[in-house]
Every structure is written in C-alpha cells, then in structure tokens.
Symmetry: none
Subunit: 523 residues, 2 copies
C-alpha cells in the first residue's frame, strides 16, 4: 500500500479564488486545524508578495505544530541576478519555513514569450534557485508550472526543466496542470514519462491540478495511479477561476476507493468537520452537494430510494457516511429526524420521551424555516431543548434596549451609544455604554448591568461574530443571521439570532451566549 | 469523428436534487430552450409518478420541437403481471412520447433483497416490458440501474440483464453508476465488456453517472472513450445527493477537448446562456466557479497571471471563453499588480500614465489592508479611480445621519428610525424614515432626500446585501465589511464599505451605490 503525501495550499493558491480572503488570524486558525487533522504539508503563503504572508511565517512558529511541515512559496530567481541577491529568495530564507516550494517555467512558450528569457537562462534560474535554498538547509519542492501544456508543445524541453530541478536538489517535482485543461489520460501518460526521468535521480513526483474541466479530482487520481506520491490541492477546492483540486474529495477517494495510505488512521472521520470549519473561517457558503461532506451528500429524496435504504443502506449509498463524519438524511421524514434529535439530546437524557423529542424536532424545523441553523450554534440548541422541556428559567429579562449610531460631516467618525434595561430577580438595572459599533455597545451595556450579579461573566468574552443574509434576494430587508462564538477560557460555544433587524439578531445571539454561560456555571 | 448523443434528464432526475422543484411551466420553458440549443433527447418526467409529469407529456406536444425527441421514464413491469396490464407501462404508452426509457435491475443483490423477486423473474420483467413498448411503436432505451456495482458483484448476471434488454428491442442500453461510487478505470473496463455483448445485437451503449466522488464528468468521458455513444446527465449537474453528471461540462469537454461531434455546430457558443437560463428558471444560485460557464471561470486575480494574460491570453486560459459564450474578467486585489489596474481602468484611458496607475494600486493596497476588497465591488473601484485621478465630484454631501433601534419587553418587535441630512448643491435636505432594520431605514431616508433631485434613483434598487467580519478574532469590535449589490434594470453593480461600525460600513456602501448610479446616468 503506497503512502501519498497531502500538500494543502488553501492559504496561498486557495486565496486566489474570487471572493476568498483570509486574515492573518484566519490563516493561523486553519493552519492549526489542518495540522490536527493530519495534513503533511501546509503552504502558508508567498512571503515576498505581501506583508501579511511574511508575518504569517513569523507567527506560525508559535503554534508548535505536531505533524505538518509549513511551506513557503516563491518563484525562481529573476533573470540576471545571483540567487542569494534575489529578493524572492531572501524572503523564502527569512520565512524560516522548513520547506520551500519554488515555481518555475516548463513551457518553452512561457519562457520566451511571457518571461522573455532564453531557454538556457530559465534552466539556470531553476538550478541556481533550488541549489541556493538547498544550501540554506531547506527541503525544496519544485512546482513545474504548465507542465502538461509545456510537455505537449515541447516534451524535450519540459523534461529538461524537471531534470534540472531534480539535479539541483528538489526532493519532489510537482507537475502542474496550471490552466486546468488537460484530460486524465494525458495526465497519466505524461506523469509516467516524468517519473521515468526523475526516479533515477531520486526525486518523487507530485501533482497539482485545477478544475477548469471539472476533472481536477480525476486528474489527481490518475497521476497517483501513474506513480505520483504527493497531491497538492485546497480545502473545498477554493482557488482561482474554477478552483484547485478539492483535497476533501481527493483524500476520501484515495483512502476509501483507491486504498492508498494517506494521513492518520483516524483522520477521515473528521473530514466533514474540517470542510465545514474552513467554510466558516473563510465565511464562504457551504456547497450542499459537495461529495462526501456536503449536507446533501447522503440525503435521500426519492420515495423508491428511501424505501430501499430502509431495507439496506448500501442500496443507494456508495459508502457509509460515518466513515467521513457525515450523516444520512432522509428528507421529509420525521422518523430520521427523531433519531438525529435523540443523538443531539443525549446529555439531556430524553431518549425515552418520544413526545418531547418530536416537539423539539418540530421547534427546530420551525426555526430552520425562518433562517435558523443550529450546526454552528450548539449552545442555542441546548437552550432550545431546555425551553421545550420546560427547564429553562431565564437569569434576566429584557425590559428594553435602545441603540443609536450617528455621524456628522463627510467623514466624521460614527458615535455609538446603547442603553439596556433588564430585570434580575426583583431588581431593575439600567445602564448605558459606548462601543465601536452597535453590537459592541449593546454587549458593553448588558455586561455592565449583569456583571455585579453574575461574577462568572467577567471571564467570558466574544471571540467571533458572523453575519449572513439568509435571503439575499430581498435587499436590505432580508433576514439576517448572526452567529456569535464565545469563550470563558475553558469552553467555546456558539449561539445564533435571526431577525430582519441586524441589531435584534445580534441581541438574541448575545443573550443566548450569556444564558448558556450562566447555566453552564450552575452545573 | 464519432457523434455522441446528448440525453438530458434535468426534468426528471434533476428534480430529485435537494431544493430543486420545477413547475409544469418551468419544465416546458426548459424543454423549449434545450431543443433550441440542440439537445438530442429530453426526458420530461415519470408519467406514473405524478399528474404534473403526465400533463407535461400532453402539453409538450404543442411546443412542436425542432430537433429533440421527448422521452418518458418508467420502470420495468411489476412482478406477476402482464406488461400490457401494468399501470406503469400504460402510463408510458399514454404519454405518447416517441421514446420510452425504462429502468430495470442489474444487480443480483437488488433483485433478490430490495425488489424481492427471483433472478429469472427480473429477466422476464425486462424482456416483457421492452417488447411490449416496442410493439407499441416506441423507440426504447434501457437504463441498467446499478450496472457497475452489479457487475462487480456478479458480472455474468449483470451482462445477462443487458443482453435481455437488447434482445427485447432496446436500441440503447444505458449503464448507470447509480450510487456514484465507481472509479473511471472501472467504468471504462466494464463499458468495454458491455459493448462486446451488445454490439453484435445491434444495440448502442450509453452512460449515466452520479457525482458522489466528484467523478461524474470524468466517468462519462471515460465511458465515451470506451465506446459509449450516448451521455445522460442534467443541466448544471442538478440531481439527488451530489448531483448527476453536469451536461454543461460534459458537452464542452466532448466538443473542445475530446473532439467528438455533439449537438449542432453553433450550440457551444450558447452554453453559458443555457446554463444561466436553467439556474434562473429553477431559482437556484449560480455556481460562480462552475467550469466553462461560471462567472469566475475566466477571472484572473494574481498580478503575475494578469500580466501574462496581457501578453498572451492562452498563457492562463485553457480555451477562449468566447467558444462557450463566456467572458474574461480581471479582478483587483492586493494580489494584483499594475497589469490588473491597467486592464480594469482601460475605459478611463489612463494607460500611458504609470504614475497614476501606481497611485491607484497603492490606494487599493492601503484599503485592502484595512479590510476592503474590490473584486465584488467594481463600482466602488470605479469611483476610487475617479477619486485618485481627481475627476470625482460628489453629487451630495453628508451633513449627518442618526439611526436608532429600540425594543421593549422580552419579545417586543424592534423599532428602527433613521434621519439623514445631506447637502445637494446649495440646498440642505433633512429627512426621516423607518425600516425593517438600520440599513433599510438609512436607505429609505437617504432616497427620500435625494429622489427629488435625481429622478434616475427611482429605478434603482438593492438586490443583495452581504456582511462579513474581516478579522473575527477581535469579537464585536472587529472590522465589518459590507457589500451591496444594486440594479437599475439595465446593469448590476457592487459597492463596498468597511468600518468597525456596521452602520457606517453600510452607509459607505450605500453612498457609493448611489454615486455610481448618478455618474453612470451622466455618461
């Protein structure tokens, strides 16, 4: 059983995708999660291209990753300059990343027409760059850009570029289908020819595909079958144009369908969780019909199929969804719903109360119909269970709130003030606070009112705040879904609020966050 | 050059997709468009399953299609009944569709465990059903359900089912990867073996794939390369679980990459239009990164790529987007260089002013560093260019705004009021309005103030409103990025605002939306 290395470039090539943008904190969060999942290599960025990427390599060292090696991306040195004097090479060295991945030109057309250097100079640029990084003690990977197109046009030159890279010390040569236009049979054939050249030099072959023909996954698998031992791609297929190969699908296919070894034994069961985590951090919509991990990937709608599934789940499922941490869903079936609820309410010990479980299910369905979604808001779900079960006793009652934002002049700073009046027991508390924005001000006023009674709130803080318009078609009058993530240093919990009014939606999520904390502290 | 038949089942298998639902009128609209496009076979529905599908076959005859043959879908007759007495067979006959597509069992497991009939009875059901429909003067296609899984388990029995179908008069036997779990090499191998059995009987082979491993397109192509001459799929890959093979991509690959003949000479240039039409009729979101036809399919963001595209479009495009009726788009972001700016500002005619272009790029980088992102906000970018170039003259000035949201009691509805004071020329305008939320109220008050002076604003409306927290780590004090999409019926444009305060961010995006409209109307 051959072992395949998984190389993730979500943080670099993935951010080339339209609408994808990750802050430094986002990048570090994803890095930690990819490492926990068992990814072998994490390409963190292109340190020369912008200060955020350079800073990433500084900050990532504090994460003390368990398994993954962090890779810095760069290009071969510029023409007519020594590698050691090239700013790109210096940025790679300064990144202190243990692996440097350098991209260079394979296609004679690109060398002479785009880069505008001689064919020999390009070979020199590859050799000098890789030798220099190797001399600095780095492991070096070489991305052969446009390998397949270059090979089609001039096979001899294409092979000479990768031979040069291997001779200069690259341990893996990654064949890139940069434009995403190559068919699987050509990928396999050319990968085999590359391997014939590289294997005697002790270099491995990797594959990097784009999805312009919806073949990035098929092409990655074809290359692996032809002998490649590293696959590059991104989480959920984020990337320029039609995206990169979706590593989520590649990993599942490699392990479950092709029987290669990849990642750790227990990685696969966290695949769905990982995919959804990355969507959330990148604030991208989940793709419901995404293979293996999508919400609909094991959802059955046709009556005939649901009937067959009841006789044998394998009848209309190609794998057991639990293998990838996903779930079967029977659409329009109360029965399957009840088993979900049963699983989710296990800690409340309602298992034998079918009526209560049905009532909870009904409440979840009603709320989801108006835009709620409890996947990222388990604390709100927990409170919902208490409410339906009649065990919810609020710690405080809202009497009123008032938030005002105003700004003067063409570019005057906005000023925000919130007042909150709540009743705790027999006492009315009325407080006012300013904030950076309306939600921040509301949060400040509410805590000012409650902190005196509930000391535990002082250790609690909000760590994330997400807003999504549930029905974008109605313009600014659409429903707004707010999800807040809070922590008290021990736990992290998510709460949700939905309203046509973003302030009210935020208020609802804030109140749930505080109530959950107070219930938690009583247990 | 082999000709491949295209068989569309959007109206039947496509509607099994979660959230996909088509009215009778929708189905007729799509039918007409598929026919105009040149699709060979259109599966209209399953007449036994519901009255809407039965009515479709009645109504579709009035469309007088030019090229496409309409197909009615059904199952083999029930056990222990003559085909002529079977309600499903009767529904097929009554549909008057010229082609009947009948699905039957291939897998011995499904025959004995799900259908619960003997292996011989299943063969009889296939033979009787197809012979009967043939005797009624119909062309008959046979969908071999679970062909690939059935073949893996019991090749002899699987082949006997399709042999029976061919002997009974089916002109095309469609091999179905019903669960979507088969790999391309197995698809090719088993399709070849099926062809060996069927070719001597004069039957053709078709392929019907599902996308559970993200391989539906690759599998369809693999089957065609192995000799299949019909491909079944759906528009945009609609369908149960992860969807069916996306015919949009299959068609483009067959014609442009594999050089098979399919459809008419001029069909391909309408591919993008067709894809978007079906999304609109089905009221589904377009998939921006969809191969060939997506909005991002030929969008370039990286500065190095845009630079290369300016020298030769083929450098980072696998085909000319015009071949499929799509367009190239240049995006602007912190990853871009001067080439992106030059491409985007072409209409402002600044090409020879490098200093100005550098100033624009610098401004873009500065703003992106504080959370702006111009990819989805081309109108704000346009205004930015005017501002840096010194050609921006605002149509109105903000004197002040004030927004207040308040709510009373535990579950009182929030009340929102906004006042806006602006100066237009020498006149101060001061207006107040209520709204569903703060942004809605601000928008209403601002328009109330401006509508009298600028009549064109009355045709303008907001169609989408997106909020994202740029740096989620700082809790509610994080930067908020608001993107607003507006339309006036002719154009659609995006604008952006960023602030720590969501109200201010929304205000900035609103103001840009209005300014852009006013500049546009003056040109």
């Amino acid at each position: 059983m051959r072992t395949i290395q998984i190389y993730d470039t979500t943080l670099r090539d993935g951010t080339q995708g339209e609408g994808v943008s990750l802050s430094l904190e986002d990048k570090l969060l994803i890095t930690r999660r990819l490492d926990e999942f068992g990814i072998d290599f994490i390409e963190g960025g292109y340190p020369l291209s912008n200060p955020k990427d350079a800073e990433y390599f500084h900050r990532v060292r504090d994460l003390k990753l368990n398994h993954a090696k962090v890779c810095a991306f760069g290009m071969t040195r510029r023409k007519g300059i020594a590698a050691k004097d090239d700013p790109g090479m210096q940025a790679l060295v300064n990144s202190q990343a243990p692996v440097c991945t350098v991209v260079g030109k394979t296609s004679d057309f690109h060398v002479t027409e785009i880069l505008r250097v001689s064919l020999q100079e390009n070979l020199d640029m590859i050799r000098d760059s890789l030798s220099f990084l190797k001399s600095q003690g780095r492991e070096v990977f070489y991305d052969a850009e446009h390998f397949f197109d270059g090979f089609a046009a001039n096979p001899q030159y294409a092979l000479s570029t990768i031979r040069t890279a291997a001779e200069a010390g690259a341990s893996v040569i990654i064949l890139c289908d940069t434009n995403g236009g190559t068919m699987p049979d050509a990928i396999a054939e050319r990968a085999r020819q590359a391997l014939e050249v590289l294997a005697p030099l002790g270099a491995k072959v990797g594959i990097h595909c784009h999805n312009d023909c919806e073949l990035a996954v098929a092409n990655s698998l074809a290359a692996v079958d032809a002998g490649a031992s590293q696959v590059q791609g991104t989480m959920n297929g984020f990337g320029e144009r039609c995206g990169n190969a979706d590593l989520i699908t590649v990993i599942a296919n490699l392990c479950l369908k092709k029987k290669y070894a990849a990642l750790r034994q227990d990685s696969l069961e966290h695949l769905t969780e990982l995919s959804r985590f990355v969507y959330e951090v990148a604030n991208q919509h989940h793709r419901n019909n995404q293979p293996f991990v999508g919400q609909s990937a094991f959802a059955h709608k046709g009556g005939m199929h649901v009937h067959a599934i009841a006789r044998a789940t394998s009848s209309y499922e190609h794998i057991d969804p639990a293998l990838v941490g996903n779930e079967r869903r029977i659409l329009v079936s109360e029965l399957s719903g009840r088993s979900n609820i049963a699983a989710l309410t296990a800690k409340h010990k309602l298992d034998d109360n079918r009526g209560l479980m049905d009532a909870i299910l009904q409440r979840v369905c009603d709320l989801e119909a108006v835009g709620y979604q409890f996947e990222a808001a388990e604390a709100s779900f927990d409170l919902l269970v208490r409410k339906v079960a009649g065990t919810f006793q609020p710690h405080f009652e809202r009497l009123k709130y008032h938030v005002a934002v105003s700004a003067e002049g063409m570019s005057g700073e906005p000023v925000t003030e919130a007042t909150v009046k709540v009743r705790v027991g027999e006492t009315n508390l009325h407080e006012v606070a300013e904030g950076d924005g309306p939600v921040n001000a509301l949060d400040a006023a509410l805590r000012k009112a409650l902190n005196g009674t509930f000391a535990g709130l002082q250790e609690m803080r909000l760590i994330d705040y997400k807003v999504r318009v549930v029905n974008g078609e109605a313009g600014t009058a659409a429903k707004i879904r707010v999800i807040i993530e809070s922590t008290d240093g021990h736990d992290v919990w998510g709460t949700i609020g939905v309203s046509e009014n973003i302030i009210e939606a935020s208020w609802l999520a804030l109140v749930d966050a505080i109530e959950y904390k107070l219930f938690k502290d009583e247990m």
